[in-house]
Amino acid sequence: MSISRRRFLQGSVAATAALSASSVGATELFSPVKKIPSASHFGAFYAYVQDGKIIDIEPQEKDGRPGMMKALVDRNYSNSRVKYPYVRKSFLEGKAGNKALRGKEEFVRVSWDKAIKLVVKKLKDTPRDSIYNGTTDGWAHPGLVNYCPTLAGRFFNIVKGGSVNIDGDFSVGAALRTNPDVVGDIEVYSLQTAHEQILPNTQVYVMWGADLFKTNKIDFAVANRKNDEYFLKYKKSGMKFISIDPIKTETAKMFDAECIHIRPNTDVALMLGMMNYLYVTKKYDADFIKKYTDGFEKFVPYLLGKTDGVAKTPEWAAKITEVPASKIKWLADLFVSHRTLIAGNWSMQRAQHGEQVQWGIITLASMIGQVGLPGGGFGFSLHYGGGGQASAGKTGPGGFSEGRNRVKAIIPASRINETLLNPGKVIDFMGEKLKLPHIKLMYVAGANSVGHQQDINELIKGLRKLDTLIVQEPWWTPTAKMADIVLPATTILERDDISLLSGSYSGDRIFAMKKVVDTPYEAKDDYEIYSLLAKEFGKKQYKKFTDGKTVMEHIKAFYESSDAAKTTSFEKFWEQGSIKYKIPKEAYKYVRQGDFRKNPVKNPLKTKSGKIQIFCQKFADFGYKDFKGHVTWFEPAEWLGGKLADKYPLHLLSPHATYRKHSQLDNTWIAELYKIKGREPIRINPKDAKKYGISDRDLVEVYNDRGRVLAGAVVTDDIREGVVAIEEGTWYSPQDPMKEGSRGNSGQPNVLTSSRPTSQASQSCTANTVLVAIKKAEGEIVPNQAHLMPKVINA
């Protein structure tokens, strides 16, 4: 009987654990085991290395949920590693029409020298205004030296004077373009009210789409698990929890929350129904509105239906949301009569008209009148990066700067496909006209575009129009498989680095991210790859890119720009593997908008009026049909109350993954624990399952006009009738790569999502405005090949 590599690794882990517990002096029989500290988005850890191979990973601190970080071992040794530089065959041969073969043909192994020269030639031949820097976000790892978004920006700015970037991001694009004018702050990445203020003061904790327990597992920096400890206190605190969500989340179950299973994309109608009720019954806080907000009088006529003939009553909202009017009134009464904290989320604004959602919560919270009070108001980042943890307020390690990008063309995040397919098209954007650039070359490092971009079939058509697609990656991701040139990068376990200030909000730790093992392949560090490329552009560019420093000199310099260096030498920090800042007592008293509440004249918000803008003239002046001067209900193009629901009767949501960070770890053993027949699970209500003849663990086909995917059914009462959910991030894999629009074979939901923008205003992504139909899978079923490397020549 043969033992698979994964089982061997799992066995090794168990054996190590047994050995460490044993009193036998095993070191005489086996090579010594080295314990090396490092860190990841999943947490800080010690890697155990024997004979140059990682045998286990353990968390550095008390960590009740170390599962995901353990999968880093498997990921390192995955068969999906890009081991050498490769070039797509017909691209290498320079054959005419080779673009159409992206994602369909084999790759040829080439030397690093050849790959670098090829990349440099393409970059030199392409004007900077036609280069799209597709390294769009920083979620690959938390190391500062090899941080791909900054490295890529720095590289392009130095060697080309710039490149085209996206505007906004895939997470919070709509909020980023709305909140600054409404509340004077982006809010989504801002320090939240401290847990110490929430615990004794909050009486009603509203999780409006927020799944605190799940999404706090990972972090933009190095995750800590402190929020888990606070959540245990929350549970015992006596707070009442309300979850407004089509899904009964992990957190809702943990807190025994009262669940309001709203129809997806109708949250603004629910907010308006509550606001209408509070206004008509005069239960809203008129003093707060007068003192702290601006433009309420321009909003009220809409609320009462005087501007459009439709009063936004609870009864009106009930028809849209399918939340009974009595429940809407009850919620409004509950919120206004108790200290209520509304924990908003980000996914609701990743929907058509997503600009309205957080603005709606802000307006509702203003009418409740508790903004700026301890444990009251709203928070848009309590689900993220240890939101609620007090901040150390210290300076962390520096990092590279990108410098100035002289290319002024941008692409709003939802318009990537359109840019590739319709270059030169003029679109509306935040009150102006924006001409989409003509992109000829796309370079992606440490990001998976064929995964996070909506409407993958449309994206692939766009990618096949590019002259050149370069991908720099440790793994054969779906994006790498579409590339012309693939440069193999090392993993975080194969290089030295230093972490961002961690966790995101506590900012109380810095971690040495030590190299754990040598790469067994020809992979190079991201920093080294860009340095090699910069060298080809000239000595001056190389010097500017590297600052004439080695990697360790950079790490040391970054550390020495932190407050920690004032008390602890770099050598000591590097040896001990981490450093911890003390959180000042005052930080535990932090209340979001607390200063504004205390004195709005002395501490005005950074809005036009210095107050919360319930009406915003700037937005009204845009003159758009789908974005007005105050919060407005707009019917989405796809929702359960619309006509399209006759054809596609289920609303598909794609929430964050429970056991991945976006696409990361999809290629590890941890995925085998939850995948069904090798596909991503789709949650479906038992009534819907019965209606469509689907049983638990059936392989199903989910489809709409944009595409089809196979997924594994999970029949559960945890999701409301009419709604299905596939978690985002699984690696895309077409059943037949040779066929355009072939059925997705892994369950990647972005095959089904739309590239339709939120509105003419922010043009952000709308992954959660999707209708689909479902049926039992039919036709030929072939194994999911998402994690297999493509065919290569000279491997």
Binding site: G138, T150, R154, D167, E187, G398, E402, R404, K606, T607
Partner: protein, 183 residues
């Protein structure tokens, strides 16, 4: 290197050939002219009136607020300060507009806009591109930048002085600012 270039530019600088000049301060944002009871701010565009040895007589034009006639701003929204006067009457006022004349040493003037704003620009592109790409400055209004930078400064861990300088640069080159970054 930068100092060398600055010195070189200063040596080559011929006021007589240029019309639009900018206040240039190597460190900080304020240029106090004590004898004249005024303070000029870095990067402020000025018009040359005359030259007298090492000194240049310049004119600044802008806007004043209703209640404070001692501050001259670049735009009507009164967000970008050009000069302050310690004595009333130094700023000549007509409606909401104001003008001021001052004598400035040649070393504090440059005809190179980028040089005049280099310090704020460098700070912004250094401090604000460590985690994400820099937004295109002219794509956002002064009001936008006030909120955007206000949101992010605690992550950038910038000092108060750096904040002032960065915001000054952002306001000057904002959509509703007075200058445009070169391509």
């Amino acid at each position: 290197m930068r100092l060398f270039i600055s010195i070189l530019i200063a040596c080559m600088f011929s006021v007589g050939l240029q019309a639009k000049l900018y206040i240039y301060i190597e460190k900080g944002i304020k240029l106090p002219l004590k004898n004249q009871h005024i303070t000029l701010y870095s990067g402020t565009p000025v018009d040359k009136i005359s030259v007298d040895g090492d000194m240049v007589r310049v004119k600044l034009s802008g806007f004043v607020g209703k209640n404070d006639k001692t501050k001259l701003f670049a735009t009507k929204n009164l967000k970008l300060l050009l000069a302050t006067a310690q004595k009333p009457g130094l700023i000549k006022i007509k409606g909401d507009r104001g003008a001021l004349e001052a004598r400035v040493a040649k070393k504090f003037l440059t005809d190179d806009m980028e040089e005049a704003w280099e310090s704020g620009s460098d700070l912004f592109y250094d401090k604000c591109t460590k985690c994400h790409h820099a937004k295109i400055v002219e794509h956002h209004s002064m009001q936008d930048w006030n909120a955007l930078f206000g949101s992010m400064k605690y992550k950038a861990k910038t000092t108060k002085k750096q904040n002032e300088e960065i915001l000054r640069f952002l306001r000057a080159f904002a959509k509703d600012g007075i200058l445009k970054e070169s391509d």
